[in-house]
């Protein structure tokens, strides 16, 4: 009888541990989507770059090609599309591509991004995350960055309003009516970063309440040289840094409110 009980206990424990491990594997699977070898990403980015310039570009075929290589759609959005966009930008800088080709290529990447987003099952209950206003200034022609950031944040359960080609009047109006927890600007050019900084300084003057304002963009370090960015709370491409900043601000405000109540 003792032996039987021991055997049963062992089976029960084995099942428990097995369940635990596979439950952990399933959880890991959800965020371990990046292929192990970064060269795969480069290879996929190169493929996407070539197909974005093809006269016969079709978003579903471009997606199928990458999926067949083992890429998950989230990896394509987070890594492959940005690599392809960088290659397009480099093409113009190196004069191997005209700006018209760059525009068409970027536009095709945008179509692919939209195609992936529309086919993705999206939870409509976005009550747990933060509420962000994602903007690109009216002088910014490249909106791909803002849309990728939007896709990433939405996947993490944040609720967003994406306002492209905007100006300080519109940002002030949106912020005054909806009280977003943070505003994020995306920039990709030397001209727009200056105009965006100017716009944010005006927004700061106009708005009564203080709101965290962030700046990001894939080539932000290069284009921001010599520009006064002190009006931004953070200049970063790290979404976790942005989320941490907003969460900590919320905690501080809660603590202050609690302190005021006690007094």
């Amino acid at each position: 009888m003792v032996e039987k009980n021991t055997k049963n206990n062992l089976n029960s424990n084995e099942l428990l541990i097995s369940n635990l491990v596979f439950s952990a594997l399933k959880t890991s699977k959800q965020h371990l989507t990046r292929p192990a070898n970064p060269e795969w990403i480069e290879h996929a980015g190169q493929l996407l770059f070539s197909s974005s310039l093809s006269k016969t570009f079709e978003q579903d075929r471009a997606l199928s090609e990458l999926v067949a290589l083992g890429f998950k759609t989230d990896t394509i959005v987070d890594h492959c599309i940005p690599v392809a966009a960088t290659l397009l930008g480099d093409g113009w800088v190196n004069d191997t591509l005209s700006f018209s080709e760059c525009t068409i290529g970027t536009s095709n990447l945008q179509i692919l991004l939209k195609f992936i987003g529309q086919n993705r099952e999206r939870a409509c209950d976005e009550t747990s995350g933060n509420r962000y206003l994602i903007c690109s200034h009216e002088t910014e022609q490249h909106t791909l960055g803002a849309l990728i950031i939007g896709d990433m944040l939405r996947r993490k359960g944040h609720s967003l309003k994406v306002q492209l080609s905007t100006n300080y009047d519109e940002v002030c109006r949106l912020q005054s009516t909806s009280h977003y927890e943070a505003i994020f600007f995306s920039c990709a050019s030397y001209l727009s970063i200056r105009e965006t900084a100017k716009c944010v300084r005006q927004v700061r003057k106009m708005l009564k309440q203080s709101v965290p304002i962030f700046l990001g963009g894939s080539n932000i370090e290069e284009i921001s040289q010599g520009v006064d960015l002190s009006c931004f709370d953070l200049v970063t491409n790290s979404l976790s840094a942005v989320n941490d900043y907003v969460s900590n601000k919320k905690k501080r405000e809660l603590a202050l409110d609690a302190g005021a109540l006690i007094q």
């Binding site: 439950s23 005209s98 849309l147 306002q163 492209l164 050019s189």
Partner: protein, 469 residues
Amino acid sequence: MKTNSDTLLEFGSIPVIEPEYLGGVLATSSDIALLVDTNIEINSLLLNKSEKSYGNLNHWIGRKLTDFLTTESIPKLLSAITKLESGETVLYGLELNHVDNAQWQFPIRYNIHRLGNDGKIILLGRDLQTVSENQQKFVKAQIAVEQSIEEKRELDAHFKILLSKTTDSLALINAGSGEVMFSNPTFQETFFRDGDDLENISLQSLLSNRAERKGFIEKITIAAHGNYDVSEELNTNKGEIIFSINPDIYRAAGQQILICKFFPKTIRKKGEQELIDNLLSTFHNSPDAIIFTDIKGTIQYTNERLLDLTNSSHKNDVVSKNLSEFLGRGEIDLAIMLENVLKSGAVKTYSTHLKSSFGTKIDIEASVSRNTSDDNGLIAFIVREVLSTSGSSRSNSSQTTTKNKDEITAKELVGSATLKEIVTDTTDVIEKICIEAALEITNNNRAAAADLLGLSRQSLYVKLSKLEI
């Protein structure tokens, strides 16, 4: 004319052009021609006479060309000049954006050539303003499309929330074909099971009586126009139930759409009351413990058998308590069963221990299902004491099925990350699950949780911080 691969025109293959004609050739073969020296200073500038839009650019002469370029164009020019200075030929066109007093910009596509050994360089440019204007229009149109997609997304979110928060079964139906275009979760839970394909479902296909399917949509449409309800027996995932269908009709995008609300009628079908009586009798007399909990595991109802198994004297000792308090591995057991039942609807067999109020443990097998007929979404546990190994074959078969599914998960994961990454991440997740469970068990008493986990307090704090618990 002869050409070679580098310079296109071989020396001597064209006649020498006299200086008084050269200017004219350059001015007409390009929209703008610039002569610059080794310091990139503009020595001379020629504009095509037909090109009026640039105005007077004479103030460029004597100034550096880089003063009239946008920031991103400067490295491109410098790179091309470096190539020329090293003796290379720049065969590609150089797209540069000019800027003048920050008032306006214009893009030019230049061909750049060395004129001799004195370092002089000539840039022959073609105006890209028309292309640029078209590109601007294209970008503006694209941004407008993107913005309208964002607005549509916002409306979609409102629409989905509205549907999901409507507690009545609701469906939007194409009045021409009967196709269900949109439906809310209540409708889907009433008429379909998890995993059912909801594409191309028609309202008439839900009718129990096949003979009435023809003409059914017309009947509903007439009722919508006449503003009255229709009673019909429909196939639900719990059998045939009579519904009162409340239709309304509207037009959108040229289509006629029926918006129908479905209210189940309380008339019990023959035999249904008998079934309820039998179920109640089974609940009270079952040799197995039957427990209903909410989705957090708080016991709502149980039969007497659970009191026997846990040596509890009164139902009040178990009702409103969390089932994990009676399970051998507490929160861990409960979390695994709840996770599986919420994902797949049922857990066939799960082996663990049950703790009695005296601290003794008995081996049990539990089967779990979700009671979807109840709006509160209660979870039903049937708990059986394991007295011998007779049940092990069933348990093994269940384990085999789970194993097969898990192997598929593992196969999907392998290849998408290195083994080291999978192991590190999985270990982190396991540590997190166990620490969270230990904290739950100990009511967030960190010292007790550390003891339970066999960790020093310091180690636990380090892990809490690392795992962001």
